[in-house]
Amino acid sequence: MIAPSPPLDRYWSDLVTVALLGTDRRDPPEAPPGLLADLVDDTIRESRSQRMLAAVSAGAAARRAGFVAGPATDRLAPPEPDPRPACPAAAAATWRYVVAEWPVLEDEWVLTVIERGWRLPPEVVVGLLLRHRTDATRLARAAVAAGPIARWVTEHVPELAPRTSARVDADAVTTVPLLAVPPELADLLGADAHTFASTLGAAFASGRFGAAHKAVLVNLVARCRPDVLRDAASALGAVDPLSRSAGLALSLADLARTRHRMLEELVR
C-alpha cells in the first residue's frame, strides 16, 4: 500500500522526524493546504505537543483510510506444466491424518500417488517439502510426486530449500522402506485375507500380544498385502473388549482401516 498523495507523504515524513526528536526540541511541521490543515487548525490546542498529536492523529487516519493500490506489475513466470491431476481433497485430508497418527504409512502414500499418476495437491507439496528438508530420499520422492511446482516454489521461497546434500539412491526413492517384522510374524506378510485375519484374531484372543508387541504389529499391518486390510480391521475390531490387549487391537484396526482407505482413495 502506498500513501494517498505525495504532499501527505512528505508531511507524514516530517511528522515522523519531529516525533523522533520530540516537540521539546522541534516545532511540528505545517500541514499542507487542504482538509487536513483545516482539521488540525480547527483543534484548539495549547501546547506544541498537543498540536503535534492532533496532526499525527489526522495524518495517520488519512493515510490508513486513503491508501491506494500500488502500480500493477508483471506476473511471475509460471512453472512447467504438469499434466497429472491433483489427487483428491479427501486424499490430502488422509495424508494429514497419516502424518499425525500413522507416519509409518506416509512413504507408501507418496509412492502410491506417484505410481497411480497423481500429483500432490498444493497444501501437501508444501507440507512434504518442509517435513523432509533433512531427509534426502523422502525429499526426492516428494519432488517426484509434486512435479515441477516443487522446484518452482522452492526457488521462490528459500525457506523450503533442502537442508541436506546427501546422495540419493534411485532405488530407495521408488521403493517402500522395509520395516522390522520378527520371523514368527513374517509369514503373515504374504498371507491371504482369511489367514491373516484369523491368525491375528486368534493371537489376540489367546493373549499372545501385549503392549510390547505394538511396534512390530504396526509394521506388520503397514506392510501386509493390501487385500487383507478390510478383513484384518474387522478381526481386530472384534477382539474381546475385556481382554488385556483390546486397546491395542482397536488401535491396529484403525491403522488397517486408514491404510485401506488411503489406497482406495488413490485409485484412478
Binding site: M1, W12, L15, V16, A19, L20, L21, G22, T23, D24, S49, Q50, M52, L53, A54, V56, S57, A60, A61, R64, A65, G66, F67, V68, A69, G70, P71, A72, T73, R75, A77, P78, P79, A86, A89, A92, A100, E101, P121, P122, E123, V125, V126, L129, I149, W152, H156, V157, E159, L160, A211, K214, L242, A246, G247, L248, L250, S251, A253, L255
Partner: protein, 485 residues
C-alpha cells in the same frame, strides 16, 4: 455426555483423542504402574509413575465425563486418564474412598453443575463434548479486535452474575465506571503527550515497563482494549527499521480514541458504539443475542489466529451470500483450551448472525439451519475494488486493525517484496514462508480468488479458493499453547 454404570472399552475408545492414543494408554493400563488406585460411583483416581520425578495424579469423573491429570500432555484426555478408564473397565480398580484432592474436585464439579450456568472445560478439566460449549462461553469475552481479552480486566461477564442492581444503584455503578474510564483516557492522553514531547528516540521507549505500567493503569480504568493495544505497540519498538513511523501512527490512533472516548455523548450513535467498543466497553452476549438476527447463507471465507497476551484469538470471517456483508466471529482459548472449530473455511452455513452494536463486524452465530454446504467461495473483487471497500471501512473507524477482502489476483514479486497483483494494482502481501509457499503452489503464479485480511502494513492471505478445494493458509494458533482435543 453423562455415563451411567460401568463403561465398555468402545466407550473408552470413543473418548480417546485418537486410536493410537488408546494403544499408548494400553501400555500403562497395568496396576503395577499405579499407586493409590481407587474408584467410587462417581470418580476414578490414581497416581501413575511417568518420566517425571513425581507421579502424575489422574482423576476421571466417569459419570459426567471429565478428567484432570498433572501430566504435561496437550491431548485430552491424556493417556493416563484413558489407562485409568481401561483398567476400570477391566475391573482392576478397587472401590475406595476418594482422597481429599479428588473429593474436592468432585465437589467443585458438582457445585458448577448445580449452578445457574455450568462451564465445562476450564483449566485442567476438559470434557470431550465440551469444546463447542466452551468456545461459545468464551465467546462472551470482549472483542479482541479492539484488544480486549480475558485476564486483562476485560474478563467475560460471569454467567452466574448476581441479580441486577436496583436502577439507582445500577446508574451509580455505571456512572462510576464512566468516571474511571474517563480518568484512564485522560491519563493515556497525558502519557501520549509526554512521548511526543520527549520524542520516540527516548531510550525509555525500549523498556517494556514504560508501556506495561500504562497498560496496567488502563486495565484499572476498565479500558482493557486500549491496554492491549498499548502492549502490542510495545512489541513494535525496534521491530524493523521503519518502526518509528509505525509507532507514531499508532500513537495517533490512540490519541484519537482517547479524545473520542471522552466525548462519547456527543458522537452519533454508531460512531459512539464503535469508540466505546474500541476503548473497552463490554456488551453482554445476551443483549447481542436478543437483537434482530441477520439471516443469510454465510460463506466461511477465512480464518486467522493471533495471540493476544495470554489468550489465543481466532477470527473467522463470514460473508453473506445474499447481502454481501462481512461479519466476524471470535473464539478464544487460554492455555490448553480449544478454539472453536465449528466453522470450516470454504463452507457455507445458513444461519442467524447477531451483530454487536456499531459498524464493527463482530457477530455471534445464533440458530443454524441445516448442515454446512461444502465448497463455496465468496465473490472476488479487483485490487482497486478491495482498496475502496477497505478504505471506506477504515474511514468510518480509523482504529480498525483488520478488515477482510476477497480479491482475484496473482502473487508476484515487486520491488523486492511479495505482492498480490491484477490489472488494477498491487497490495503488499504479509505471509509466513509456509503460507506464501502454499499460495504459490496453489496458484502457480496465476490469478486466483484469495481471501485476505487487511492490516495497516499489508494483507495477510487467509484462503485460496480453488475450484475443487479451499486452502486455509491463515495464521495458525501455536499448537503448544492451545489444546488439540
Amino acid at each position: 455426555m453423562v455415563a451411567t454404570g460401568r463403561w465398555t472399552i468402545e466407550q473408552v475408545a470413543a473418548v480417546a483423542p485418537s486410536p493410537s492414543s488408546l494403544g499408548a494408554a494400553e501400555a500403562i493400563a497395568v496396576p503395577q504402574r499405579w499407586a493409590g488406585l481407587g474408584c467410587d460411583d462417581l470418580m476414578l483416581w490414581g497416581r501413575c509413575s511417568g518420566s517425571g520425578a513425581e507421579p502424575y495424579e489422574t482423576a476421571v469423573d466417569h459419570v459426567d465425563v471429565a478428567w484432570r491429570c498433572t501430566c504435561p500432555s496437550r491431548r485430552l484426555p491424556c493417556k493416563h486418564a484413558i489407562a485409568l478408564l481401561v483398567m476400570w473397565v477391566r475391573g482392576m480398580v478397587p472401590e475406595a474412598t476418594p482422597p481429599p484432592a479428588v473429593a474436592r474436585w468432585a465437589r467443585t464439579r458438582a457445585g458448577r453443575a448445580d449452578g445457574p450456568a455450568a462451564k465445562p472445560g476450564a483449566g485442567a478439566v476438559a470434557e470431550p463434548d465440551g469444546a463447542d460449549r466452551d468456545a461459545t462461553d468464551r465467546g462472551s469475552t470482549p472483542q479482541p479486535d479492539t484488544g480486549a481479552v480475558p485476564g486483562t480486566g476485560d474478563e467475560p461477564e460471569p454467567t452466574d452474575r448476581p441479580e441486577p442492581l436496583p436502577p439507582a444503584d445500577g446508574d451509580r455503578a455505571r456512572d462510576e465506571r464512566v468516571a474511571r474510564m474517563r480518568e484512564g483516557l485522560v491519563e493515556l492522553d497525558r502519557w501520549l503527550d509526554d512521548r511526543i514531547r520527549t520524542g520516540l528516540a527516548d531510550p525509555s521507549l525500549a523498556r517494556y515497563a514504560t508501556w506495561d505500567d500504562l497498560a496496567a493503569r488502563l486495565v484499572d480504568a476498565r479500558a482493557g482494549a486500549l491496554a492491549n493495544r498499548i502492549r502490542r505497540l510495545a512489541g513494535l519498538v525496534g521491530s524493523d527499521p521503519d518502526w518509528h513511523a509505525r509507532v507514531l501512527a499508532e500513537l495517533g490512533v490512540l490519541h484519537l480514541l482517547a479524545q473520542a472516548g471522552r466525548r462519547l455523548a456527543d458522537l452519533p450513535g454508531p460512531l459512539a458504539d464503535s469508540v466505546a467498543t474500541a476503548t473497552g466497553w463490554q456488551v453482554r452476549q445476551a443483549d447481542v443475542l436478543a437483537g434482530v438476527p441477520d439471516t443469510d447463507r454465510w460463506i466461511v471465507a477465512g480464518r486467522s489466529d493471533t495471540r493476544e497476551d495470554r489468550i489465543e484469538v481466532r477470527r473467522t470471517w463470514l460473508r453473506g451470500a445474499a447481502s454481501g456483508r462481512w461479519a466476524m466471529v471470535l473464539s478464544f482459548a487460554a492455555y490448553r483450551q480449544s478454539l472453536d472449530r465449528s466453522l470450516t473455511v470454504g463452507t457455507a452455513i445458513h444461519a442467524d448472525l447477531h451483530r454487536y452494536p456499531g459498524p464493527a463486524l463482530r457477530a455471534l452465530v445464533g440458530e443454524r439451519f441445516g448442515e454446512p454446504e461444502p465448497l463455496v467461495a465468496p465473490p472476488a473483487s479487483s485490487i482497486v475494488g478491495a482498496c475502496d471497500e477497505i478504505g471506506t471501512a477504515v474511514a468510518a473507524e480509523p482504529w480498525l486493525e483488520r478488515h477482510p477482502a476477497t480479491v482475484l489476483a496473482a502473487p508476484t514479486r515487486h520491488g523486492g517484496r511479495w505482492v498480490l497483483t491484477d490489472d488494477s494494482g498491487t497490495l503488499p502481501l504479509l505471509a509466513s514462508p509456509r503460507a506464501l509457499a502454499t499460495v504459490l503452489a496453489a496458484t502457480g503464479g496465476e490469478p486466483a480468488s484469495i481471501t485476505v485480511e487487511w492490516t495497516p502494513h499489508g494483507v495477510v492471505p487467509l484462503t485460496v479458493h480453488a475450484a475443487d478445494r479451499a486452502l486455509d493458509v491463515g495464521p495458525v494458533a501455536d499448537p503448544s499453547f492451545v489444546g488439540v482435543a
